[in-house]
């Protein structure tokens, strides 16, 4: 018989995620009574020092919240400020924003799939080790990642903290002919993206179900990326979704502070919720073009168009690969339809008021709110990143996975650490937006 005492497990260094976090598990007589994901990323106080800055400044400043998804921060910032000022950026300028965002999706998702996540499925510590047995696969991943980076470099100036984004549009818009080399590269990337979907589809997926409501933006007629309306798919309620206006985001998504973490934790209407690839695919998957849906289906993903929903966090790696394929296709479509806009940016004269902006960062919905005074200075700022929203769902996922494991006898700390790290990496948490160490503590009595 296995010994069923009480224990507390503390995982002290969460590897292969972005940022810093730790995990504390309390196990009492074979039951997991507590799973606390603590994010010890030092506070950086963005919301405080944004106050007093001019309305043109937040996109450059907030991009520094996260080096992995700067475009998400820039775009949410721009939307929120344009919302205060009563300006809508549309036409080719909006299309270029979406194109830049596709670059970030390709780069960030490919980084996660190949460098951070695939080693879990193939039993390696890192991608370098993986490259010893899977050289061609890792090289394909690096090539695909480079294709995403090349969109960001071409359009944004550089891939980390692009410089060409501004409130109202861009500093410089390229001529149609300048896109030719990029389009050529993306046509090659399409093959790599298709091969990636097939590659990850062959991984081994444990059964799992994420018991959380799903939240993603939706946009009529398209797979939402850089804009949309918050849409909720409750757990265990078939395929009935509900929406709420973006302006009401903080009345529905309420952040709470927990003593063990520097990242705030958010609940959606009082319940834990999950944003990101699984949520987007469940809520908007039917909007994907037929060829991408076919790739998803052949990779073993349930088809949301026929009311099936995939809630298995392990399969999120497949959803990410599908989203990369989509982003490559979408980037090619946008480039093909591109015409040089008459001006690189719309003029955005400031006015007093409060505005909201949300976009789909690779890891989930990223919400920004700003209040401006008459002179266009920021008097209040609120940023709700995906990781703070996903923490509750990740904790529940950890509790369930460890509980399942306990049914098969007492695991060692090393085994629990591996298991929990995997579960956390499924969610691609970007802990800098609030942190790579899983500092695991198991409290045993």
């Amino acid at each position: 018989m296995t010994h069923r005492g009480s224990r507390v497990l503390h995982v002290g260094a969460l590897a292969r995620v972005e940022g810093e976090g730790a995990l504390r598990l309390r196990i009492s007589d074979g039951t997991v009574t507590q799973a606390q994901l603590s994010i010890y990323e030092p506070p950086r106080f963005f919301e405080a020092f944004l106050r007093g800055r001019r309305h043109t400044e937040p996109p450059d400043i907030t991009s520094r919240v996260c080096g992995i998804c700067p475009v998400a921060y820039q775009t949410s910032s721009c939307h929120a400020i344009e919302d205060v000022c009563g300006i809508t950026v549309d036409g080719q300028l909006a299309a270029l924003r979406r194109l830049l965002y596709c670059g970030e999706w390709i780069e960030s998702h490919t980084l996660h799939i190949y460098l951070l996540h695939a080693p879990d499925f193939l039993g390696c510590d890192n991608a370098i080790e993986l490259s010893r047995t899977h050289r061609a696969d890792v090289e394909r991943g690096l090539r695909l990642k480079q294709a995403g980076n090349s969109i960001m470099e071409f359009l944004g100036g550089r891939s980390i903290h692009p410089i060409n984004v501004r409130v109202g549009g861009f500093h410089r818009t390229p001529a149609r002919t300048e896109f030719r080399p990029l389009a050529e590269r993306l046509r090659q990337a399409r093959d790599d993206a298709l091969a990636t979907v097939a590659w990850v589809a062959g991984f081994d997926f444990p059964e799992a179900d994420c018991d959380a409501d799903l939240l993603a933006l939706t946009e009529p007629g398209t797979y939402a990326i850089e804009t949309g309306t918050p849409t909720v798919l409750p757990h265990g309620d078939g395929h009935r979704t509900r929406t709420f206006p973006l302006a009401d985001f903080t009345t529905h998504v309420v952040e709470e502070q927990v003593p063990y973490s520097t990242a705030l934790q958010a609940r959606l209407d009082g319940r834990r919720h999950l944003t990101g690839a699984l949520a987007r695919y469940a809520i908007s998957g039917h909007q994907l073009p037929p060829a991408v849906r076919e790739a998803a289906r052949s990779a073993g993903l349930a088809d949301p168009a026929s009311g099936q929903i995939c809630r298995n966090p392990f399969r999120s790696v497949v959803v990410r690969a599908v989203e990369v394929l989509y982003a490559v296709e979408e980037a090619l479509r946008l480039i093909d339809a591109y015409e040089l806009p008459p001006y690189p940016a719309v003029d955005v004269p400031p006015r007093a008021g409060t505005g909201h902006g949300a976009t789909e960062a690779p890891r989930g919905t990223l919400y920004h709110r700003y209040t401006l005074d008459d002179e266009g200075l920021v008097t209040d700022a609120c940023l709700i990143p995906p990781t703070s929203q996903n923490q509750g769902a990740i904790e529940e996922d950890l509790r369930r996975i460890v509980q399942d494991r306990l049914r098969h006898g007492e695991p060692t700390d090393a085994e629990l650490t591996r298991l929990c790290e995997r579960a956390i990496r499924n969610h691609d948490p970007c802990i800098s937006c609030s942190a790579h160490f899983l500092d695991l503590t198991v409290v045993r009595a």
């Binding site: 405080a48 500093h171 790290e421 160490f437």
Partner: protein, 266 residues
């Protein structure tokens, strides 16, 4: 007797308060990553590997600024375990964007962001690594430049000084053949006082340099400020312009009193 087997140099990558962008630059070296990994042993790089090995390290790359009590102790330990210590990026080299707290009341910042500020452990300042331990080289940028990073790693592993020029963005801008923005269009530009490294990116995209790489070696701030004024900036605009990702370093070279009280105080 057989010659001793020379083991591969050991690389450590460490993170303090930061956005992860500078260490991501290493993973963004797609073409160089696998060849580099064949030459060196990536002994500690938590973002990229679960295989976390103890020191000593031949080269430690440190990202991020010192901003919590725990950081103080950790940076000393890393220094003691590292043959060479190189800071990467504006956070590690100048305190980063989070050093904007150095000009403000941190208790008030904490209360603004957190409902229960008492849970939050933080220092009142965000400081560069060099404020706490000796540093062998500081690589600038927010983020750092990929080419410069490769140069620094290869230089240190070959035991030579990295070839990173100290001149201003204007040099790179002229070399690139970009039309000078202040001269031609009256667009304010920090190029004359900013350290080169980005390849004069912003001017090439038609926007003024906003100082990602911090001050260059020999800046003439007393000449810069009237220039910015003549391009239409108010003193408050100028202060904000200088107070972003390298606020700490730019503040140190602002002419005292020139930009009003806050300028004098900082």
């Amino acid at each position: 007797m057989a010659a001793p087997v020379r083991s591969r140099p050991r690389l450590g990558v460490f993170k303090f308060a930061s956005c992860d962008g500078c260490q991501l630059t290493l993973l963004d070296c797609e073409d160089e990553l696998l060849p580099l990994a064949a030459e060196i042993d990536i002994a500690h790089f938590v973002e990229a590997s679960s295989d976390i090995q103890p020191g000593p390290y031949d080269l430690s790359l440190v990202e991020g600024s010192v901003s919590t009590p725990e950081h103080l102790e950790r940076i000393r330990r890393i220094r003691s375990e590292s043959r060479h210590l190189v800071t990467i990026g504006a956070c590690a080299t100048a305190g980063g964007v989070q050093a904007l707290r150095n000009f403000a009341d941190v208790a008030e910042f904490r209360a603004t962001v957190y409902a229960k500020p008492e849970y939050i452990e933080t220092l009142a300042t965000s400081t560069p690594i060099s404020a706490h331990v000796p540093v062998d080289f500081e690589l600038r940028g927010c983020p750092i430049d990929r080419g410069q990073l490769i140069e620094v790693i290869t230089a240190f592993l070959a035991d030579r000084r990295p070839d990173i020029p100290n001149h201003s963005v204007c040099f790179a801008c002229k070399r690139r053949g970009t039309t000078c923005l202040p001269v031609a269009h009256g667009i304010p530009c920090l190029g004359p006082v900013t350290h080169a490294g980005c390849g004069a990116l912003c001017p090439a995209y038609g926007r003024g340099c906003y100082g990602c790489f911090g001050p260059s070696a020999s800046t003439n701030m007393p000449a810069m400020i009237p220039l910015l004024r003549s391009d239409g900036m108010s003193d408050e605009d100028i202060l904000r312009f200088l107070h972003t990702f390298n606020a700490h370093d730019f503040a140190a070279i602002e002419p005292p009193g020139e930009l009003g009280e806050e300028g004098a105080a900082s």
